[in-house]
Chain length 156, copies 2
DNA sequence: TTTTTTGCAAAACCTTTGCAGTTGG
DNA sequence: CCAACTGCAAAGGTTTTGCAAAAAA
């Protein structure tokens, strides 16, 4: 579960920015909220609710999963966070803020690579022309085999 | 949940062909098995295990869901069936047999269109060149907005 | 009769929800 | 103080699994 070329959001440069935004919306800064936000900033890429609950290093007192999900939902409504589903397994959450980044997920090893903005525009255009579909890879990214797994053999 | 341009598999032309194949593998032809196979042939496109269990017309005695899943797994191992995940909700099962057809799914209305074989080769090539990823749309199809929903406004 | 398959119940996994109690402002 | 938030427990949706009973060959 590696993630490469992760860039930082522009709109929210750090936990403090986000917490301020929350305050601005009449929301409160609870301990859980603070930890969730900090964890998202500390993460090196998309993380699951479970990873946030457990703490990225497995240390720290566990957060309640339900509270994590509720917080992620709140943050998503504010445009601070978004999530996507890459294959089976739990959803993955990332800081949003500087546009809708897209990902390619490997269905064998779980690796997720971030694609630079507009990287899939050509693909989207092709699909629009041929099928009339408006492909959106932000919530359901493209799944396939990463370069390493593609060489190594078939899929699972 | 409409599906257009569905073509019939080549390798297994009808329920009987499949049942023979099953027999050939030392498997037994139970009532449930027979019904599952017939339902797959009667379906006009990808169907969920639940739809198979309930019967396409909602009539007929319900099949046990666990048995349906077990049968689908068996049929998948034999290459008779395959399934994919289009967005949230249950997996969808289709007859396989004449190659890996691919689908485009609408994340708003649930519509699934079948893409003619090789229809996404250009897209795959593009992704391979740019990112080194071997995209596979057979198990996790492209999700987006169908022409109708794309016109109608934003997504859910 | 033997081996496969079923039916039911339970569980696993991810996520949401209800509610009483706690906490932030 | 009061609304927002938490923690826990329960439930919802999809899929899997265990096991004794039933059915296929």
């Amino acid at each position: 579960m590696t993630v490469s070329s992760i860039t930082r959001p522009l709109q929210f440069q750090g936990p403090a920015t986000v917490l301020n935004a929350l305050r601005g919306h009449g929301l409160r800064i609870s301990t859980v909220r603070r930890v969730v936000v900090h964890t998202l900033f500390a993460a090196e890429g998309p993380v699951s609710a479970e990873e946030i609950a457990a703490g990225l290093d497995g240390d720290r007192t566990r957060l309640d999963l339900a509270s994590v999900y509720r917080n992620l939902e709140t943050l998503e409504e504010l445009g601070v966070v978004r999530h996507f589903h890459a294959g089976h397994g739990p959803g993955r959450y990332v800081l949003a803020g500087d546009g809708e980044r897209e990902y390619l997920a490997c269905e064998r090893c779980g690796e997720v690579v971030e694609v630079e903005r507009d990287g899939l525009d050509v693909v989207r255009a092709e699909i629009r022309e041929r099928f009339g579909y408006e492909a959106r890879f932000t919530h359901f990214p493209i799944v396939g085999l990463c370069p390493q797994c593609a060489q190594g053999g078939a899929s699972r």
